[in-house]
Symmetry: C2
Subunit: 150 residues, 2 copies
């Protein structure tokens, strides 16, 4: 096959980002499917375990997703008995989100597999490069978020 190239697009950092992200998606989905999780449910479970008791608004903010999109994600996690919505005493409008024992166990297994999978992405990088990459990606996110707010 003739190997064409998108040399114009490749000059854009935003496009480079999108291609790298997109390429990584297949492997991530494949790993998570072994645990009957999707990216949205895994990331929500992760934050809930990291910050037990937070409410849906806080979780949505942490994940940078909209509140309405979270409802079905938590529904799924609750149906699978990985997470529980507990009524908050302080504010009866809100639910405090807590992981179950089953949720913690599944999270540990899934995370082990995710870390292994994730390591394939940075194969060939030195530790110094990995640290720099993380720093630059965070800078981009901050730049974009600040830019968006204006």
């Amino acid at each position: 096959m003739i190997d064409l190239f998108d040399s114009n697009l490749r000059r854009l950092t935003g496009y480079q980002l999108r291609r790298a992200t997109s390429a990584s998606t297949h492997g991530v989905n494949k790993v998570l499917s072994r645990f009957e999780l999707r990216r949205s449910t895994y990331s929500s479970l992760s934050v809930i375990i990291n910050q037990p008791g937070l409410n849906q608004r806080q979780l949505a903010h942490t994940l940078a997703i909209e509140r309405p999109n979270l409802v079905k994600i938590i529904d799924v996690l609750e149906r699978k008995q990985l997470v529980k919505r507990k009524l908050s005493n302080a504010d009866r409008r809100a639910y405090a989100l807590h992981p179950t024992t089953k949720g913690c166990e599944l999270y540990q297994q899934a995370t082990d597999a995710m870390i292994t999978e994730d390591a394939t992405l940075t194969r060939g990088m030195s530790d110094k490069e990995k640290i720099m990459l993380a720093r630059l990606l965070q800078l981009i996110e901050n730049n974009a978020t600040q830019h968006k707010a204006k």
Copy 2:
């Protein structure tokens, strides 16, 4: 607001990538909407201008998208008279994709705006860091694509 953090997730390169990409999306969409383009139509137009005469299979491969998803994108570009499907003499199954004059002009304007927008993402980076970022993102994409093929 209490500033919670997703420290578990943030250790994963794949998640760092996704957050940076996602954060950049709003600005890109906003720029492209001024030209009545979307990411999919802009990137297709870009490749067609870069490689005039290529067919839809080649374009899909270059953009790493599936052939069926390209059909409506080209339909839109053709309806807007930015691109033309020309019957290929060599292979009457295939269309050769060519930009129109209008397509080239709109692409130039949109690209100027896109480059300006894109520069905000790498604000605060040295030239050396920008080069390294591009190299590391390409490495990730290669690693992920290779990993996927297995």
